[in-house]
């Protein structure tokens, strides 16, 4: 019978906690950079949050002529019109911002009228494959819903880990989570990628994934705290991280494979989502090893778990 290849060097213990300083510094630098970027450059919000219109078009006669398209649309007086060539030479993305309402006209109507004008100007030579027109009322609500979604998710996770572990674990995992989200946002900022609703969904998934990874390590730390009552905390954490490292790498590998295939084959609509996930898996794995545990070490944990271990056993017995 084929048992599979256990490629992990289990007998080797990586001294992660010993060299943690350099990793923590790297994380702090990345985090600070991300915050600075978000404060100065900000995010390139998509029309979901800013309002505006988007058209994805496909030329019916060969490659799309971006220059000609630009000339056609710039004459319409819609403010700045962004035109972006997509992967296929026949495809392009047209975007323009929220239109100012002319007197008497509602701003929602102004959006609609601008979108109608563009559709007319494009004519019959192109197929409009996708349109999105978001008025100011909705975009404000969507932005707010996005922010509350992320905050509530963090709060829920915090409460759950507090309930299942100890408050120190909860704080440490939230620190790792905020680290992940902030740096991912920083990457979106520096690359100027469109940030919309599906990217918020990606952030929430990332939050779930990153916490998932952290919880696996913390679970082992808790277990080892019960087993090795006298071991020094940094040594114990190092052991726990190493014990779970093969799993961390394998799981990140398979999930990365799945998300990578979405990124490679996905259409324009899903690319931003897949990119956020791709980056999120890497940073989530990083933070569960190099951020969450060092932070936990720094704030310290309760050493005596005997009472809890007993009650845990009782519930385990009840479950089986």
């Amino acid at each position: 019978m084929f048992k599979g290849v256990d490629f992990w060097p289990h007998d080797k213990v990586f001294p992660i906690m010993k060299v943690r300083r350099s990793f923590v510094i790297a994380s702090i630098v990345a985090f600070t950079l991300a915050v600075a970027l978000l404060a100065t450059r900000g995010l390139n919000f998509g029309i979901d949050f800013k309002g505006g219109s988007l058209f994805e078009i496909q030329s019916k006669s060969g490659a799309v002529d971006i220059g000609e398209l630009r000339n056609k649309l710039n004459g319409l007086g819609l403010g700045s019109v962004q035109i972006q060539q997509l992967d296929e030479p026949t495809d392009a993305l047209i975007r323009f911002e929220e239109q100012k309402a002319k007197d008497g006209e509602s701003s929602e109507k102004a959006q609609q009228n601008a979108a109608d004008k563009v559709q007319e100007a494009l004519g019959g030579d192109v197929e409009i494959r996708r349109t999105e027109v978001v008025g100011p009322a909705v975009s404000g609500e969507l932005a707010w819903a996005g922010i509350t979604a992320v905050l509530f998710a963090i709060l829920g996770i915090l409460l759950y880990i507090w309930f299942r572990f100890e408050w120190q674990f909860a704080i440490a995992s939230i620190v790792a989570l905020v680290h992940d989200i902030t740096i991912t946002l920083g990457v979106f900022s520096i690359l100027g990628l469109d940030f919309g609703l599906s990217e918020v969904a990606a952030l929430l998934t990332l939050a779930g994934y990153s916490i998932n990874d952290t919880v696996v390590v913390f679970d082992r730390i808790r277990e080892n705290l019960r087993r090795y009552k006298k071991m020094a905390l940094d040594q114990l954490m190092n052991l726990s991280i190493n014990e779970t490292l093969s799993r961390t790498v394998l799981t990140s590998g398979t999930t990365l494979l799945a998300v990578l295939s979405i990124y490679v084959f996905g259409t324009e609509v899903i690319k931003g989502f897949a990119f956020a996930m791709l980056f999120g898996i890497l940073i989530g794995t990083w933070s569960s090893i190099f951020v969450a545990s060092p932070f936990l070490l720094w704030i310290g944990v309760k050493r005596d778990w005997s009472g809890i271990a007993k009650s845990d056993k009782a519930t385990a017995a009840a479950q089986s």
């Binding site: 509602s106 929602e108 009228n113 349109t131 880990i161 609703l197 918020v200 398979t254 999930t255």
Partner: protein, 546 residues
Amino acid sequence: MLHFSRFKIGFVVLVCLMGALATLPNLLSQETLKSWPSFLPHKQLSLGLDLKGGAHLLLQMDSGELRKDWLKSLRGDVRKKLRDARIRYKGLGQTKDLVRVKLVDESKKEDALRVLRTIPQPLGNAFSGSSGYDVAIEEGFDGFINVEPTTAGMQQRISNAVTSAIEVIRRRIDNIGTAEPSIVRQGVDRILVQYPGIGNTKRLKELIGKTARLTFHDVHATTSGDEARQTRIPLGYVIYPDADDPGYEHLLREIPIIYGEDLVDAQPGFDQNTNEPIISFRFNQKAAVEFGRFTAQNVGRPFAIVLDNGIKDDGTPDIKVLSAPVIREPILGGSGQISGNFSVQSANDLAVQIRSGALPATLTVVEERTVGPSLGADSIEAGEWAALVGGIGVAGFMIFAYGLFGVFALFAVFVNLLLIVGTMSMIGSTLTLPGIAGLILTVGMAVDANVLIYERIREEMRNGKQPISAIDGGFSRAFGTIIDSNLTTLIAGIVMFWLGSGPIRGFAVTLSLGIFATIFTAFLVTRLMVALWVARQKTRKIPAPL
């Protein structure tokens, strides 16, 4: 952990079979499904608009217009009540928020208040048990009596208007095609229209964006609109512009003879003499009698057919006189025709709109998303490729790392997918593009549960345990970790479902279902297969499995 009672085995197999059965209709054509025995599941997964193409329109009702209309009718009520009670008033006005009236004789105030207090209607909501009235009558400081809609009253008004607007939209849309649109209320004053298979929303918006309130009015006998503008507009009359001749204005009695609601049918057609597009209509019994009496009394004079289309782009009212024919003889049959310089298309649209009834207020499009059918097909194809390549990659990885147990894990992941797709088909949820991403991500996460178990088994064996107890320990120790890690992801999923809209919700549904399915398959399906494999070895000294 390796013992399964017969009952438990039966349960696991049953759940897996149910998942497979519920998924099966998705692989069959509609024709095969028709001949399917009735006790088997029939429901197919419905595809979201982003996959099959279609239009998504979020409409907002103009509550300002609704309030204005209400105030107008309240003003009429106040006038009538005071007149009936023979209380004389001097100032009856309407502001943005309320109607106010001043009495000639201040000492009649108590009487006036008593009469006016018959206007408010109790708020009818048996479920919420809310008390109070829709209108508040209050004495102002400046000697005026204020008649003001309450907040709750306005809410109820908007809510009722949205309900009837949904009905009107449905009737209108049903006229343009066979696709099944979904029209639902969102929040207080919004309506979400989802129409599959339409790439260009222009026609859809034209059809549902117009109020189309039709009324029949008496035309002033002697004065034209122009003359009235120069001198003064007689009490109870209004000026409306002509539809064909923008310069011409008609002076009409404000209160109509007949309302559009009294029309029972409207059909587009052609005039027999001029061959121009027209709309022929029929009144109901009551209106037919009314109209017959009116035309009999007014032979030789014109009457006006007015179309109120709510608010124009620039915020001014969109009301015009479609036609003002002269009555040649009494119209007793209760039917007639409107000619108004129509095109075939506009006659057709207006007939549909009249038939389906008027919208209570103007609807504005606040969000519009359309996906052309070809892009939807591309998305599905891309999703299939991603699933195939991702699936093969993950499968190769698992078999490489865990051999036969890797195959067990893959089978568990397969069952996992069956359970998710099956459940989604059964509960009638919609598969969107982000939903496909959620499915692929679930595959990655489901593998994680198995990785946790298998790594734990290897660890137990490295610690010197015999294979059987290592397997046992691996499953039981990984259990807590898997529950904790999956429940935290579930929290993110629930928040997404709760706060998200459209595409995010689709993702949240697959992700959350995936978590339940993952816990089930890792702990029952994988474990059952491993247990059966152990039992087949027929010896306590089994070879190391991993």
